[in-house]
Every structure is written in structure tokens, then in C-alpha cells.
């Protein structure tokens, strides 16, 4: 049947992670995740950008051998984008699951990244999934999808944003077990930067020092300090032969701000460390 073939082609692909993603355990997050998974509890990850939330979820999906469905939320994300919609194939309509419905059916881990970016009315669709009902209502098909035990819902958000518009509603928040992420302690972070960026320990240590200096500027001209991700980028440039100060200017200073005064300060900080 061509039509069904077409429908399969456009349905979301559930990827399994084959090789172990690098993740450095910081505290008890792995045990907590496993425990929540066993108890079928949804999980909320909070933390600044680039501190390893997404990597952690990938690692856990690999560890638990579940497919992972990641949705990057944005302010135009509608319920249909998550749950699914009818599409026209040939002269007929075909139902295509959205990523959330697909994850429920397959018993996957569904990771909604930056949930606060999604519209408030979209967020509500996950409510019945995130409490003891564990149901997803697909109104258009009149279908009530019960989640298998393997299904797990994980959402993340960055509490650092100052905007009052980007807050997570208590009714959503209180359905989740919350795990707080932060940049790891200096030695641990240096280890991560050295491992991921392929630089020696001393360079990694200095990169982490630079990050610490920029994080001191949070709220004083910067919304956020340099994330671990930025440090890894800088480290990768250095490992590739770029001169350290130039690498930091490009990967850290310019990535953090457009304001000329602020970039000048960041350049000063880069010069202080390298």
C-alpha cells in the first residue's frame, strides 16, 4: 500500500542512541533519574544554558536503552505540532503522530527542551501525561493513548531568564520531580572541558577560570556567564591550533555579547587569563 508507506515516511523517526555519550556525573542525578523512571514519574531539569541538561538526557536514554525524542520548544509550537495532525496523501487524509504521541506509543523518553518557550496553551497537553493518569488525549482522532511503563517525560527550562513572560506555571511545575543543574565545580568542569575539547589540563583550568570571571558579570551587563558548552567550543578551537586568546575571543567573548563596551570588558578578562 503506497499510501501507508508514505505515511510511514513522514512519521517521526525514533532514534536509539547506539554509542555511549560522554557525560560526567556531578551528583546523584543518575540515580534520581533511574528512580523516577522506575516509578514512572516525569522529570523537570532546571539550569542555565549549556550546562549539560541535554547531554544528560541523551546519556540516560543510552543507559536505559530507550529511544529518545527531543523537541526544541518555541513560541509557535502548537498542540498539533506535539500530538499530530492529518495530512493529505494522494487524495486521502492520513493521520501522522507528532513527536509526543510517537514517543508515547513507542515507550520512549520524550524530552521537551526549553519548555517555557512554548505557548501556555500548548503546555497543558502534557498535563494528563505528567500525573498518575499517564494519558495523552488525541482529540482529533477521539483517541486516548495510555502511556506504557517505559514512556518517560522529561522537560527542561532555564530559570535564569529575567523575563516575566518566561515562567513555568505552577500547575505544570508541580507535576514534576525537579533536578537542578548548575555548572559543575571547577575541577570537574576542567575535566569535562579537557575531555570534550581535547586540550591539556592547564588550558582547561584557565578556560574554566575565564568562565568563572564571566559568570561574575551575570546581571551586570550579561544575562548569563559563559557556559560549559562555550568552553568546550573554545577548547576545540585551541586543540585545532587556534591561539588560545583568539579562540576565547571568538568562542566566548563574542558569543556572550554584542555590546561593544561589554565585549571590551570580556576581552580584558580573556587577556587576564591567557
Amino acid at each position: 500500500m503506497d499510501k501507508e508507506q508514505d505515511a510511514r515516511d513522514i512519521a517521526p523517526v525514533l532514534a536509539r542512541i547506539e554509542s555511549e555519550p560522554y557525560y560526567q556525573t556531578v551528583a546523584n542525578e543518575v540515580t534520581l533519574f533511574e528512580s523516577a523512571c522506575r516509578r514512572r514519574l516525569p522529570l523537570l531539569l532546571k539550569g542555565p544554558t549549556g550546562c549539560g541538561k541535554t547531554r544528560f538526557v541523551e546519556y540516560m536514554a543510552w543507559r536505559l536503552r530507550r529511544p529518545l525524542v527531543t523537541v526544541a520548544c518555541h513560541d509557535d509550537l502548537t498542540t498539533a505540532d506535539l500530538v499530530g495532525r492529518y495530512l493529505i496523501v494522494g487524495s486521502e487524509t492520513v493521520w501522522v503522530d507528532g513527536p509526543l504521541a510517537a514517543a508515547v506509543r513507542a515507550g520512549a523518553i520524550c524530552y521537551l527542551d526549553e519548555i517555557v518557550e512554548a505557548r501556555k496553551d500548548t503546555t497543558v497537553v502534557i498535563h494528563p501525561l505528567a500525573d498518575s493518569r499517564r494519558m495523552l488525549a488525541i482529540d482529533k482522532r477521539g483517541e486516548l493513548l495510555a502511556a506504557p511503563d517505559e514512556f518517560m517525560l522529561v522537560i527542561s527550562y532555564n530559570p535564569g531568564y529575567q523575563s516575566v513572560l518566561k515562567e513555568i506555571k505552577p500547575s505544570t511545575r508541580q507535576r514534576f520531580v525537579a533536578l537542578e543543574f548548575d555548572y559543575p565545580a571547577a575541577e570537574v568542569e576542567a575535566g569535562i572541558v579537557a575531555r570534550e575539547g581535547g586540550v591539556d589540563g592547564e588550558t582547561a583550568r584557565r578556560l574554566v577560570k575565564l568562565a568563572e570571571l564571566t559568570r561574575n558579570l551575570k546581571g551586570a551587563g550579561l544575562d548569563e556567564g559563559a557556559s560549559t558548552r562555550l568552553l568546550v567550543h573554545a577548547a576545540q578551537l585551541i586543540a585545532d591550533g587556534v591561539e588560545p586568546a583568539a579562540a576565547c575571543t571568538a568562542a566566548v567573548a563574542r558569543a556572550l555579547s554584542d555590546d561593544p563596551e561589554m565585549t571590551a570588558t570580556l576581552d580584558d578578562l580573556v587577556a587576564a587569563v591567557f
Binding site: I88, G221, A264, V270, A272
Partner: protein, 694 residues
């Protein structure tokens, strides 16, 4: 030789000078001035006339001085130097008055000499923000930055000289600022003022020649701190070393001994003991600041008292008020200054609230450990304790003094192509309670119009709309689908737009109405403005947009006033209606400062779109002729640009028939409306708003 390049003759110059200096009180003849300028090239003549005019706007005598001294100045200084000379005088006039400025102008030789000797001065004012952030980056707690004759720190504020010219280029001097500031921060951070174990005050008190001891101490600490910085911030240490050059012979031995990353202040004291036994004086070190031990110790003690109390209170709260005191009496501390501090109480690791954590970190920086009294929870708390009670009391006192403006705003001087810093003094003045009945009268008079406005705005309130025939969407569009099926059956290529999409209409809009309350609005214009506000309030209440109304007026730069009618948070109630009734014509229209203040308030609103609507009756104007004309238009334009940069869009509704002459330059060609008759304003304004926001 064309008319543009030929020199001006004395009589022409004299005529131009008379125009520029008409307000000068000196009865000196402009003939002497003109004779002096006659021999200059035309370009130079024009430059002198330009700056004479600029200066005369600030102070007529200043203009006279510039015209008189320019020939000499131009012979001594190059083009940039000449401009710097004039601008320095104008700046000084703003800050300290015309007498100081004229003294500076008269000393043109001295100015030229300093400029030649130090062609590359770096100024603190230019670097303040950058240095301040640099220090905050280093320290993690905000450090103040202020000008003082000698570089030093009291642990809370880093004091730096207003100008640095010790090195040969401006860039080098800027780096010197950075090095000095970093070393001063390091004094606080790395124990120059002692710790729980080393009492620097007592150790230095042993020397009868205290001044000499402090000078040596400062020099030695500069050497030690440079090495300490090298461990964490090698780039900075290398830069400091490069700027200072090789150590002078008198310092060599000491620098070698203190040049270890782990040297402490006790090591410095040991070296100091030996040096003080001799009678050598410390060599001058341009990069090292002085040490002001008394100020530092006093400030630090006060801060530590405050922070100890904050930590203590937080611990007490954490363990329950009056709770098990014994368990926390000797709570050990885990963690380092950089990582999150955790206090172990009764075997549990519990986290301090952020303010207490900041206080604890700050204490760790000062002392290297938390003082034991911080770890003893208060037995009981007598009422809420506010760490910054003093500051609050001070603010109150300042408010009581009346003369203190709410804020000072910079103003753009187009002739200087620079801001006049802190030029306008802004006051927020409450309107007297007015007659709320006024609004009701207006409502009755315009009942039909209000009905119409409400109906229109209700429509605009924007419920969700369903968009058909989309390329993608949440749902199928059945009409489109049926049509496409028909087309296909007929062998025609079917349309691909088969979906429907729900468009949610989220009006995320905050609007600020800035109402001209200048004297020229007296009478029917003022009435029209007030009626227009009533209509707008009706419309906006229907619509549900966040809105605020502020009036503005004033009298010269030292009394710019803002009259709150309705804040964003306030409901449209009897008080607000009373204030609308109380809007009266007052003084002048200094627009720039009002725009700066109100767009600042507007920028704080969380809405996605921010709109500043000015209701006015004419061009910017103020008492005296400075703000009138081009200056005021340019400052207003600048203020609107600043607002735009902050995400505020502006629009102007005016009843000035000549508005079209200057409004396009201020707001842009499509961002204003001129209403030809004041009485039409109330009926039109709601429509204008509707057009603007739909």
C-alpha cells in the same frame, strides 16, 4: 579664490561675533577680537566662530574668552588639541562653573604644555564602565569605582586618579589603569589588610615613621600580589610585569623574595622589617597604588559586621528560630570560596539562601574563613532585620531635602557632538488631587463617540482567528480539500494550500502617553488634551492594553518635572480620573529628558511591543534660548533614538500646524499626526491609536 575659501575681513568677523556674543555683559569691543582673528585662515576662522557660538550658548563670557584666546591657542595646538581645549573648558563649565572654565581657557599655554608632555592621557571617565565590569568579573562582588588623587582602595571602592599619563601612549595608559585597578582589587582579595590570623594594623603600628612604612608596604605588596595573581591570572600578571618594566634595584631583592604564588602578607611584613631597619625610601612605582590602612580596615569591619549578621540570621532561620542552638554552635564549614558554600548543620548539608551565600563568600574573601560569630545562630530575632537599613534611612533623608532630583539625565549637545553629563535634573511631582467629576462630564458630553470607540476596540481586542488555505497548519481546510478533489477529478492541478491554522491574537503591548503640560497648552489645548485622555482611557480599558499617562513640563535644565497621572500598575479609578482633571498648563517643553525618563519606565514593562505616544502642541522649547530651535530638536531626536535602542517605538500626535517642519526629523516620516484643530483631538486620538496598534 571663492567666497567659501577667502578670509573674512575684520568688519565681517566683527558682525558675526556681535551676533554670537550679543548677550555678553562685557562691554569690551568685538573689534579687538575681530582684529585677532583676521589673520587666520578661513577654515580656522570658521572653527573659532563655531566654538565661540557653542560656548556662548553655555555662557556668553566663555564665548568671548574663546574668541579672544583662539589665535594663541591655534598657534600652540594642533586641530585636535584645539578642540580638546575648548571641550575641556565646556566640560569644566558644566561641572564647576564658568569661572573655572575661563581660568582653564586663559591658561592655554599650560594646557598645551601638559598636552605635549602627555600626548596620551587616559581618562578614568572614559574607562569607568569597562574597568568597573572588569573588577566585577574578577571579584564577583560589585566594587565601586571613584576618582581620587592617589590610587588606593578601602576594600569597597577602588579609587583611581582621574587621569593617567605616566606612559607614552594612550593605550599603554589605559592598560596601566587596568593593572592598577587589578592590584588594588587584589589588595582586598589576597589579604593585604590582614586576616583572622595576621593583624596588619598592629604590625605596621610598630614603626614610628608610619608614612614611610606604609609606602614600603604598598610597594612590596605590589610585588607580592603580582606573583599571587600570576597563579590564577597569568595573562594579567604578565601584562603588569610588562607595564612596570624591570624592578628598580632597590626592589629587586624584595621582589625576588615575594615573587612566589603562595607568599602571604606575613612574608611582606618580614621583608618590610628588614627594609625599615635601613633608611632607603621605596622607589616610585607608577602601577602600584597606595595603601590606606585606616579607611580599608574601617570599611571592612563595617562590611563584615553586616555580612556576619546576614549569615547568622540565615543560619538561624534555617535551623528554626530559637531552635537547637547547640547543634549549630560549632558548625564546620565545607567548600572553598569559589564553590557554593554549604553549612553542615546537625549532620545535614543545607544550602544558604543566595543573599547569605553572597555575604558568606564575601566574608571568606576578607578573612579566609567565616568568623565564628557568624556560625552561632541568633537565639531569637527581634523583628525583621534589614541589612541595608542605613541606606533606606539615607534615601529618606535625601527625599526630605527636596533639592535632590530623582535622577540626572544626560543631554545631547549637537554642536559638541557629545553628551552633557548629568545635565538635566528630573523631579517627579505629584499632581494635586483634582475633580474626578471632570471625567464624568466629558464622558457625558462625548457619550456617543465613546460608544463608538468601545465597539471598535472590542472588535480589535482580537479573539483568535482561523486562517484557511494555508500551506501547513493544525487542521485540514475542508473547503479547500473539496475544491482540490474536484480539480483533481477534472484533471486540473490541485491547489497545495489545504490546511487551516489558528492564529492567536496576543496583544502584548504597553503604551505610555506623554502629555505636554507646557504653558503654551493653556486654555483650549489643555482641555483638548484632557478630553483626549478620557477617550483614550475608555478605549484602552476596553482593549486591555497596559498603559500609563505622565505629564511633563519644567523650567530650565535644573527643574525638569514629570507628573504621574497613571502608572502602569494603577487602575483607572477615581484617583486617576481626578488627576486627569488636575492637568494644567505649566511651564516649558524640555522634551529630551522627559522622553529619556518615560521610555526608561516603559522599557521595564514586560510587554513585547512598547509604544511611547507624545501629545504635544509644539516643538521642544525651554526657558532661555538654548533649548529653543535646533538644539532642542537634536536632543529630542537623540532621546528618541535612545528609546528606539531600548525597544521603545515612538509616535507623536500634535496640534502644531508647523509640526511637519520638524516632526519627520524627530519621529520619522510616518510616525506622527498633525491635527489642525485642537477640538478635533479628542475625537481623533482613539482612531489614531487604533491605526497604530492593529
Amino acid at each position: 579664490m571663492t567666497a567659501e575659501t577667502r578670509k573674512l575681513f575684520a568688519d565681517e568677523l566683527r558682525q558675526r561675533l556681535d551676533e554670537l556674543l550679543f548677550a555678553s555683559h562685557s562691554h569690551r569691543s568685538s573689534k579687538t577680537l575681530a582684529d585677532g582673528l583676521e589673520k587666520l585662515a578661513r577654515a580656522q576662522q570658521e572653527r573659532v566662530l563655531h566654538w565661540t557660538g557653542v560656548a556662548a550658548q553655555s555662557h556668553a563670557e566663555l564665548g568671548y574668552h574663546i574668541a579672544a584666546l583662539s589665535p594663541q591657542a591655534l598657534s600652540l595646538l594642533d586641530e585636535a588639541g584645539y578642540e580638546a581645549w575648548v571641550l575641556a573648558a565646556l566640560d569644566l563649565c558644566d561641572r564647576e562653573g564658568s569661572l573655572a572654565a575661563m581660568a582653564l581657557l586663559r591658561d592655554v599655554e599650560g594646557f598645551s604644555a601638559t598636552r605635549e608632555a602627555a600626548p596620551a592621557t587616559a581618562r578614568l571617565a572614559d574607562l569607568e564602565q569597562r574597568l568597573g565590569r572588569f573588577l566585577q568579573g574578577l571579584s564577583g562582588r560589585p566594587l565601586g569605582l571613584a576618582a581620587a588623587a592617589v590610587a588606593h582602595t578601602d576594600t569597597q571602592t577602588v579609587f583611581l586618579p582621574g587621569e593617567l599619563a605616566a606612559l607614552s601612549t594612550a593605550e599603554e595608559n589605559r592598560r596601566l589603569y587596568k593593572a592598577t585597578a587589578a592590584l588594588l582589587w587584589a589588595q582586598t582579595r589576597y589579604g593585604t589588610f590582614g586576616s583572622a590570623v595576621v593583624d596588619v594594623g598592629a604590625l605596621l603600628a610598630r614603626w614610628p615613621d608610619r608614612e614611610r612604612a606604609l609606602r614600603w608596604f604598598a610597594a612590596l605588596e605590589a610585588a607580592r600580589l603580582e606573583a599571587v595573581l600570576g597563579a590564577e591570572l597569568p595573562g594579567l600578571a604578565a601584562e603588569i610585569a610588562r607595564l612596570r618594566g624591570p624592578w628598580p634595584p632597590a626592589m629587586e631583592e624584595a621582589a625576588r623574595r615575594l615573587g612566589r604564588a603562595d607568599a602571604g602578607v606575613a612574608d611582606t611584613i618580614a621583608v618590610l622589617d628588614e627594609l625599615m631597619a635601613g633608611d632607603a625610601e621605596p622607589p616610585p612605582l607608577p602601577h602600584a597604588g597606595a595603601v590606606d590602612l585606616e579607611a580599608a580596615l574601617a570599611t571592612r569591619a563595617a562590611r563584615m559586621r553586616r555580612e556576619t549578621e546576614v549569615v547568622r540570621q540565615a543560619l538561624a532561620a534555617m535551623k528554626g528560630v530559637g531552635g537547637r542552638k547547640a547543634s549549630g554552635a560549632s558548625a564546620p564549614l565545607a567548600g572553598t570560596d569559589a564553590s557554593k558554600l554549604e553549612v553542615s548543620a546537625a549532620g545535614e548539608m543545607s544550602e544558604l539562601p543566595p543573599d547569605a551565600q553572597a555575604a558568606a563568600q564575601s566574608l571568606m574573601q576578607d578573612l579566609g574563613e567565616l568568623p565564628p560569630e557568624a556560625l552561632v545562630p541568633a537565639g531569637h530575632i527581634e523583628g525583621p532585620w534589614h541589612p541595608d537599613e542605613d541606606a533606606a534611612a539615607e534615601e529618606e533623608a535625601a527625599a526630605a531635602r527636596h533639592a535632590q532630583p530623582l535622577r540626572r539625565y544626560d543631554e545631547w549637545d549637537y554642536r559638541r557632538r557629545a553628551y552633557r553629563r548629568g545635565w538635566c535634573h528630573l523631579f517627579e511631582v505629584p499632581l494635586p488631587p483634582g475633580d474626578a467629576g471632570y471625567v464624568d462630564t466629558v464622558r457625558q458630553r462625548h457619550a456617543a463617540a465613546i460608544q463608538r470607540i468601545r465597539r471598535r476596540f472590542e472588535w480589535l481586542r482580537g479573539e483568535d482567528r482561523l486562517l484557511g488555505r494555508q500551506l501547513e497548519g493544525d487542521d485540514l481546510d475542508l473547503d479547500a480539500l473539496v475544491e482540490a478533489a474536484g480539480h483533481r477529478a477534472a484533471g486540473v492541478e490541485p491547489e497545495a494550500r489545504l490546511y487551516s491554522r489558528r492564529l492567536r491574537n496576543e496583544r502584548s503591548l504597553a503604551v505610555m502617553f506623554m502629555v505636554d503640560m507646557s504653558g503654551s497648552t493653556k486654555g483650549w489645548v489643555n482641555d483638548a488634551e484632557r478630553e483626549a485622555l478620557v477617550m483614550l482611557c475608555e478605549a484602552l480599558e476596553t482593549l486591555g492594553d497596559a498603559y500609563a499617562i505622565y505629564g511633563f513640563s519644567g523650567w530650565t535644565r535644573s527643574r525638569c518635572e514629570i507628573y504621574p497621572v497613571k502608572g502602569f500598575g494603577e487602575p483607572y479609578d477615581a484617583t486617576v480620573r481626578g488627576r486627569i482633571g488636575a492637568i494644567r498648563a505649566r511651564d516649558y517643553t524640555r522634551m529630551g529628558v522627559a522622553i529619556r525618563h518615560l521610555s526608561g519606565l516603559l522599557a521595564e514593562q514586560p510587554a513585547r511591543h512598547k509604544l511611547l505616544v507624545t501629545l504635544s502642541d509644539g516643538r521642544p522649547d525651554d526657558h532661555g534660548d538654548e533649548y529653543r530651535g535646533h538644539y532642542g530638536v537634536e536632543d529630542t531626536r537623540r532621546a528618541l533614538q535612545e528609546a528606539h535602542e531600548r525597544g521603545v517605538r515612538s509616535y507623536c500626535v500634535t496640534i502644531d500646524r508647523h509640526g511637519a517642519d520638524y516632526l519627520p526629523r524627530l519621529y520619522g516620516p510616518a510616525r506622527y499626526t498633525v491635527i489642525d484643530e485642537a477640538k478635533k483631538l479628542p475625537l481623533k486620538v482613539a482612531d489614531i491609536y487604533r491605526r497604530l496598534t492593529s
